[in-house]
């Protein structure tokens, strides 16, 4: 009963007029054009910035193309960087459906990686499949638990989740460092404190033929599953209805507490899994390398994708590509490493500002019926 009542109040799910069969297509067009326009605006602004500095925007574009997409190597480089970001972006996007802003994914990644390593250590002599399964379960469980704390604090005590997740990410990183350099340290890891390794035989290989990070297929799969979850399941529907106004949803009788906990656990699980994959595919052990900022970049991607798991993929590619091109820009144009950050900032500001374009143009709106 209550769900039918909320149907009309939820902005994202306004009923489509049956007579306007082209509306879904126009809505999709709108959601593609708005960010495209924003990207163009950011590019324009950045060109002005470059001209002001006496650098050539054309050279810049050429180098970004060559560094990020122009060759098989560059493309691989881009995709490689994008892979872990898919999962960490989901850590923000899933709770985001409920209007929650979780910015503590970094701690879920490192603690997930640590838990995965610890879970793998007693199983090293079984088989790689068992090791990987244990790592995946332990990593996601740890991530789910850590982000779940923020969710629980929000749902039960009404502690703001932005602040809670931020503070918890500092605490989580401290805990990680404390354990890796103390209790869980392999005494043989002399100058780079690390845990014991999972062994070469238990490492995940890169994707055959493509030679890319194994996190890529997992990340893509996770994005697809999360998309189905959000747009084709009752959990997703209830979450989107709740989105933005938790109190109203509570009044309408939705199980908000359960939704928040579930969303935070799924999101945190994704980030924890990202940590587990990094350990299994890259480092073979947990150490400070895990704290690579994937959790923070994931926040940007989730917002750029407007929390849509399908849109996370191109956005991760975009940011991965900028990262890949960054080095070339430093070396060829003598631009400082912060150049990419300025560009990212501009893109981010203008894409978020483009949210205001939605609904401004009549052509994209539902027609007929009346």
């Amino acid at each position: 009963m209550s769900t039918t009542a909320t149907l009309t109040t939820a902005p994202a799910s306004a009923p489509v007029q049956a007579t306007d069969r082209w509306y879904p297509l126009r809505r999709t067009t709108e959601s593609l054009l708005a960010p495209a326009a924003a990207l163009a605006a950011a590019a324009l602004l950045f060109s002005v910035f470059l001209l002001f500095l006496g650098a050539s925007p054309a050279d810049f574009l050429d180098l970004v193309w060559r560094g990020a997409f122009g060759s098989w190597f560059s493309l691989q480089n881009t995709v490689q960087r994008a892979a872990p970001l898919l999962l960490t972006a989901l850590c923000v996007a899933i709770p985001g459906q409920l209007g929650l802003v979780i910015i503590g994914g970094e701690a879920a990644v490192v603690l997930g990686g640590l838990a995965a390593t610890v879970a793998a250590l007693p199983l090293l002599n079984t088989s790689p499949i068992i090791v990987w399964a244990a790592m995946a379960v332990a990593g996601s469980a740890m991530g789910a638990f850590w982000i779940g704390i923020s969710g629980w604090l929000r749902a039960r005590l009404n502690v703001n989740e932005v602040i809670a997740s931020l503070v918890l990410s500092y605490i989580g990183l401290a805990l990680f460092n404390h354990l890796v350099e103390g209790l869980l340290r392999d005494p043989a890891s002399l100058n780079k404190p690390s845990t014991y390794g999972i062994g070469d035989g238990n490492m995940l290989d890169t994707v055959p033929w493509l030679d890319v990070h194994p996190g890529l297929p997992v990340g893509i799969l996770a994005c697809l599953i999360c998309w189905v979850l959000i747009y084709r399941s009752s959990f997703g529907f209830a979450s989107r209805v709740t989105g933005g106004n938790i109190r109203a949803a509570q009044l309408q009788g939705l199980p908000v507490t359960k939704l928040i906990l579930l969303a935070c656990a799924i999101g945190g699980g994704c980030a924890g899994l990202a940590g587990a994959i990094e350990v299994a595919a890259e480092y073979g052990r947990a150490n400070a390398s895990l704290n690579a900022g994937y959790g923070y970049t994931g926040i940007l991607i989730a917002f750029l994708a407007r929390f849509n798991p399908l849109a996370i993929m191109p956005m991760a590619i975009l940011l991965g590509g900028l990262g890949a091109a960054g080095g070339l820009l430093q070396r060829r144009m003598g631009l400082p490493d912060a150049t990419i950050q300025v560009l990212q900032g501009l893109i981010f500001v203008s894409i978020l500002a483009s949210d205001t374009l939605y609904g401004r143009f009549r052509w994209f709106q539902p027609r007929g019926g009346a």
Binding site: S74, G327, R331
Partner: protein
């Protein structure tokens, strides 16, 4: 052809058809590279900013000298994290810039990134700063590193001559062997002058965290410490804070005398140009580049900053005299009987560990006279 050792190279990578990498005696230059020897492209990769007044600057200053050498093109990238990013940077330098000699300068770049890339690109020479290479690793990779502990020992001597409170401070990033050797050497240097001197150590837990480093400096000064030195990536803030509070400083990594003109006593500096010059001359001359090279003061891998005005004549004499002894070679700072600060014997009587001693590689204690603990 002997297969590479599976402990250093993962088996899966081996199976991918890269077997025999280490067996190839490909330490020299291939014919293709020899032709291009006139125009050698060298890549430098730094973990932090090039102008940090510290670890990265020490490398970047040497790179700037390399840049002036004829026939050399230098490509540089700063702030490359110790993650897969660095493999991609190396690969990008190789593929897009045509670099054939790479210097990934941060300790954490070696395993697995340099190893992975060296296996993948057998024609390219990789020389990593950190002394981690063993003869089980790919032959086109290698290590260079400097023994800087002796310089910290000399720092300690200088500090002992300057201190009035008999309390010295050491701000360290992490309790790892490289750092602990420096802390211990500094404390031993000071105690060689006056055995009542203590050295308090603070671990910040991070290689670069200016606010924490400033706070640590102030905390130490609050305890009555009047000479401070450090082992973090960028000592700038520590030197400036100490100078402002009117205490003495001993530098680390690079020359920081400009930051503390009044209180700077002397400093322990890297002198990487020695290594780079030799490696590049080898590469240009078509000779094999050494796979493993380490050196200290005598070899010119490290050097001392010029004395600051605050160091007394007696202090200068003492430092100069000990330095001359060290330059003769075979000098040992860690001489038995030596106890750690918990009372355990770490160097038995009659033993002495010179800087090259393998026992020091796993140093995990703080010697008697250091206030603090390693865990």
């Amino acid at each position: 052809m002997k297969p590479p050792n599976p402990t250093s190279l993962s088996r899966r990578r081996l199976l991918r058809g890269t077997a025999g990498a280490a067996g190839l005696a490909a330490i020299g230059l291939t014919s293709e590279q020899a032709r291009a020897a006139k125009d050698l492209t060298v890549g430098f990769i730094y973990v932090g900013p090039k102008d940090d007044y510290g670890y990265n600057q020490a490398h970047a200053e040497a790179a700037a000298m390399v840049k002036k050498m004829p026939g050399i093109k230098v490509v540089e990238e700063e702030k490359v994290p110790e993650t897969d990013d660095v493999s991609k940077t190396m690969e990008s330098m190789i593929k897009l810039d045509g670099a054939t000699l790479l210097f990934p300068t941060s300790f954490g770049y070696f395993d697995p990134y340099v190893l992975k890339m060296a296996t993948k690109y057998k024609d390219i020479q990789f020389r990593h700063c950190g002394g981690l290479w063993t003869n089980k690793d790919p032959m086109n990779a290698g290590s260079y590193f400097g023994y800087i502990g002796m310089c910290q020992y000399l720092n300690g001597i200088a500090a002992a001559h300057a201190t009035k409170t008999k309390k010295l401070g050491f701000i360290a990033a992490k309790p790892i062997p490289q750092v602990l050797i420096n802390v211990n050497s500094f404390a031993l240097g000071a105690r060689s002058v006056d055995p009542t001197i203590t050295t308090s150590v603070i671990f910040t837990g991070e290689w670069s965290m200016p606010v924490k480093e400033a706070e640590a400096t102030n905390s130490l000064i609050g305890q009555g410490i009047d000479v401070v030195t450090c082992h973090v990536d960028g000592p700038k803030v520590i030197m400036e804070t100490a100078e402002r509070r009117g205490i003495y400083t001993c530098g680390y990594h690079a020359d920081q005398s400009k930051l503390a003109p009044k209180g700077y006593l002397t400093g322990a500096e890297w002198n990487w140009i020695t290594v780079y010059k030799q490696f590049i001359a080898d590469a240009q001359g078509g000779k094999p580049i050494p796979n493993f090279t380490r050196g200290g003061l005598a070899e010119g891998f490290v050097k001392m900053s010029p004395f600051g005005p605050a160091l007394s004549e007696a202090g200068r004499k003492n430092v100069t005299a000990v330095k001359a002894e060290i330059m003769k070679g075979g000098y040992s700072v860690f001489k038995g009987p030596l106890k750690d600060n918990k009372g355990n014997v770490v160097v038995p009587a009659g033993k002495a560990y010179p800087e090259t001693a393998i026992e020091l590689e796993s140093c995990n204690y703080l010697v008697d006279g250091v206030v603090g603990s390693t865990s």
